[in-house]
């Protein structure tokens, strides 16, 4: 027999959900686009206060042409974050190691530069594989593994470079990240393609959905026939590959690398990735939001520098924006949800 469908009283509990009201709508839109709004506002403010320097094509070039390393780092971080590994602290070190491997092999050991690049990417992949084996198959805490690997790889980078910057890479080779296309270096488009690809995979493919499910609930995913460990391991591996490629591009762009600097990427990488959770898909790590966050932060800092403010202001801006944006996004989401 059938149940008489839709008893009158039954549906009353969900009135709120089925009829989204204006407040709700504003809340959602606010939390999606507020950071983009602030970005626009920043551009206006800087444009008004610094018209001569800010409103130039150089500004656009600087903002969009200088963040390749960060874009690759955030993409690598997103790979693992999306499958529920919250904090991969090792990506900057992987990138740094790969970036120093290229000039060390090519300049100091006379390897062909392409071979050296391949070797660097393989190093990144291997680092990702070690992370993956330890966390996924041996079950060691992710933070511990990646923190340890981060330090270890920094040590290796210092070792092979003898603690000093190595430079002298070919300027032809530099074209893989510096070749100008429509006023911007090709590295910008490489980062863009990477992020769009990641966004596509996550949003539109079964693989992406499986990744999100693994991130949300491993046990449920396993029972649904998803090969959870394979996906998690794959995420670490991809993170390694992406960081490796990013490292090669970074080395190419500067013509060499300094092994000591990789740690300085850690904060911006995390800041941009987490700020990304306040953009487009509030509360969720998402590639496009992250990309916007990267350029938003770059805009903010650049404008401040053009205004000639002291060095500490950039830190205050970075920290303040991160806290305020994510707090507002959290509050708006809470109100609308």
């Amino acid at each position: 027999m059938t149940v008489t469908s839709a008893a009158p009283g039954n549906a009353s509990g969900h009135k709120g959900q089925s009829r989204p009201d204006l407040k709700h709508f504003l809340g959602r839109t606010g939390s999606r686009f507020s950071v983009i709004g602030v970005w626009a506002l920043l551009v206006v403010i800087y444009g008004v206060t610094e018209p001569d320097t800010f409103l130039t094509s150089g500004t656009v070039q600087t903002i969009f042409g200088s963040q390749q390393a960060l874009v690759f780092l955030t993409a690598a971080l997103l790979c693992t974050i999306c499958v529920g590994e919250f904090v991969d602290l090792s990506v900057p070190s992987v990138l740094g190691l790969c970036a120093i491997v290229v000039p060390v092999l090519a300049v100091q050991h006379g390897w062909n530069v392409w071979l050296a690049s391949l070797a660097a990417v393989l190093v990144g992949t291997a680092a990702g594989a070690v992370n993956g084996v330890l966390t996924v198959y041996l079950g060691v805490n992710t933070i511990v593994v990646t923190l340890g690997m981060s330090t270890l790889l920094l040590g290796v980078a210092l070792w092979i470079s003898n603690l000093t910057p190595v430079s002298g890479l070919d300027s032809d080779f530099a074209q893989i990240s510096l070749f100008q296309l429509g006023g911007l270096p090709v590295g910008f488009y490489e980062g863009l393609v990477l992020m769009l690809g990641l966004a596509y995979v996550l949003a539109c493919t079964p693989l992406g959905r499986n990744m999100r499910f693994v991130g949300a609930n491993r046990e449920v995913s396993r029972l649904a026939g998803i090969r959870v460990n394979r996906i998690r391991f794959g995420a670490f591996l991809s993170a390694g590959v992406i960081a490796g490629v990013g490292g090669v591009l970074a080395a190419a762009a500067t013509g060499g690398f300094d092994p000591t600097v990789s740690q300085s990427y850690l904060l911006p990488t995390f800041a941009a990735t987490f700020l990304g959770t306040a953009i487009l898909e509030p509360g969720r790590f998402n590639p496009l939001g992250t990309l916007i966050a990267v350029y938003f932060l770059a805009t903010g800092i650049l404008g401040l520098q053009l205004m000639g403010v002291a060095g500490w202001v950039a830190d205050v801006f970075y920290g303040g924006v991160l806290v305020i944006a994510v707090t507002l996004s959290t509050l708006l989401r809470g109100r609308s949800g």
């Binding site: 149940v3 079964p206 693989l207 499986n210 999100r212 949300a216 649904a224 026939g225």
Partner: protein, 522 residues
């Protein structure tokens, strides 16, 4: 309000009195001026459909939620400050066993039992562990349970866990005072434990302590409670209705606000054999030993038994979630070695498992309903990296939401925002959508109201009618009798010969315990 407040039996003040308590979540009013009276020494039932506000009321009474302004709560005649302060409520004798039990798995039994009750020595502020252990042991002994105190709660089975949670609430009850609220605490208790549980309640209420019992098992309500309060959409439509002489049909009508048709099991005859039956042979696991079961397409076979008899292991062994130690299965003309099969292989072979633990194993609660429904489905899929076919997906989700009557019918809502019963429907939809050859269910209607239960039963039957073999493991005899064509009884890990054919609930109880059906509470 609608309900007629009956004269209180005996002396003056009610033990617990709730007046006009409301609770609003965002734009959703979960409770509307609820009234409730619990007199000393009674077992008082609180029933209602999923999402009618029972748990919310319990949580308001313990201070977990703050109520809307305006309501009043009295304990033994004296008003309780609102919002309720948890420690104050407990001091006044109000304790709750929450629906989710409220245990921390990687903590020991004694720690869980004494959680929130630890007392420090005056000077050193140290915990007096010997006293704590004594108190814990005493609480458990009262329930007749012998669990090592230093064992992690996660290592206990569901029934022992429930018992620990119940013991925790009972330890605060002083004879003759207080109210203990059980929010669906009995759902995972087996029949034998249930009987013991009610015996214990009898001794508790005999001293004058009161009990408020929230449950979906209407027979429990009719058997065990003295009076019942019925919530419908957050409104108390009946307050303190005496259960003596109340029929189940009456109660259902009050609860749903309408007549429920076809509550009685209509003989469901499996369609004529259309394909080869699914055969399972020599299945062994941790408890189950050498089990042979065969399920024909279109047939619904139940497995049951007392706790620990191994019937609840079968679903997980058959679906590759837990490794069997031995066993083979013939499915769709193929032979599968159960000891080597993993979940992915089982799904590929056409097995679908609806597990018991909805939150842990069933649904990813922060993902949307649609995503959950589509997770296991492979019909809309062309390859891991190919774009998903959104239109086909949306159509499929809409179809299942409608078929199982998921409320609200919004695919883009996070699954965690649905009520438990509706989550259960989504869980079922997720697996029915895969069009399985063998559907394996574990406690499919646990903690689900009668209306939802019907929707679920209808969906399972529809799947069977479409040629799916269905295997149900359950400890709820009503559920089994409602669903099954055959029921296999397990004893000590072994499947008993002579399955019951279209048994009634009484038949099943009798077969399990080899005794007649008795009232839960004398």
């Amino acid at each position: 309000m609608t309900g007629s407040v009956p004269r209180l039996p005996g002396d003056g003040e009610p033990r617990l009195r709730v007046e006009a308590v409301s609770k609003t979540f965002g734009s959703n009013r979960a409770l509307r001026e609820v009234e409730l009276d619990v007199v000393p020494g009674e077992i008082h039932g609180l029933v209602g459909q999923n999402g009618s506000g029972k748990s919310t009321l319990a949580k308001v009474l313990t201070g977990y939620h703050g109520p809307d302004p305006g309501g009043r709560v009295f304990v033994d005649g004296a008003p309780l400050r609102l919002p309720v302060r948890p420690l104050e409520a407990r001091a006044r004798g109000l304790t709750v066993v929450h629906q989710s039990l409220g245990l921390v798995n990687d903590r020991t039994v004694v720690e869980n039992l004494r959680l929130g009750r630890f007392r420090a020595r005056r000077m050193s502020r140290r915990i007096h562990w010997r006293e704590e252990r004594d108190a814990a042991r005493a609480a458990l002994e009262r329930l007749g349970l012998d669990v090592p105190l230093e064992v992690k709660v996660g290592a206990l089975n569901e029934e022992d866990r429930a018992t620990v949670a119940i013991a925790r609430a009972l330890q605060d009850a002083q004879d003759g005072t207080g109210v203990i609220i059980f929010d669906e605490s009995t759902r995972s208790l087996t029949r034998e434990s249930l009987e013991h549980f009610y015996k214990l309640l009898d001794s508790v209420v005999a001293t004058g302590t009161s009990v408020l019992l929230i449950t979906h098992r209407l027979e429990e309500v009719l058997d065990a409670t003295d009076r019942v309060t019925v919530l419908r959409d957050g409104v108390s439509v009946e307050c303190g209705l005496p259960t003596k002489g109340l029929s189940e049909a009456d109660l259902v009508r009050t609860l749903l606000g309408r007549e429920l048709l076809g509550l009685a099991r209509e003989k469901h005859t499996a369609p004529a054999e259309t394909g080869q039956p699914v055969r399972i042979e020599g299945l062994s696991g941790q408890v189950a030993r050498d089990v042979d079961v065969s399920v024909a397409p279109g047939e619904i076979v139940g497995v049951t038994g007392i706790a620990g008899s191994g019937h609840d292991e079968v679903p997980y062994l058959v679906s590759g979630v837990r490794k069997a130690t031995a066993g083979r299965m013939w499915l769709g003309g193929k032979e599968l070695a159960l000891s080597k099969m993993d979940a992915a292989a089982a799904i590929a072979a056409g097995v679908a498992l609806v597990p018991e633990g909805r939150e842990r194993e069933g649904l990813a609660l922060e993902m949307t309903v649609a995503e959950n429904v589509l997770l296991a489905d492979r019909s809309c899929r062309r390859g891991a990296m190919a774009p998903r076919r959104r239109r086909a997906e949306r159509a499929l989700v809409g179809q299942w939401i409608e078929r199982l009557d998921v409320r609200p019918p919004a695919g883009d809502l996070p699954a965690g925002k649905l009520s438990g019963g509706n989550q259960q429907k989504v869980l079922l939809a997720k697996w029915l959508a895969t069009n399985p050859d063998l559907l394996v269910l574990h406690e499919p209607t646990q903690a689900v109201d009668v209306g939802a239960r019907h929707a679920i039963v209808a969906a399972v039957r529809a799947a069977a009618d479409a040629g799916c073999a269905v295997l149900v493991s359950s400890s709820d005899e009503n559920e089994l009798s409602l669903l099954c064509d055959r029921v296999v009884i397990f004893r000590d890990g072994a499947a008993q010969p002579d399955p019951l054919d279209h048994p009634s609930a009484d038949d099943i109880v009798q077969a399990i315990y080899s005794g007649g059906k008795r009232r839960l509470r004398a």
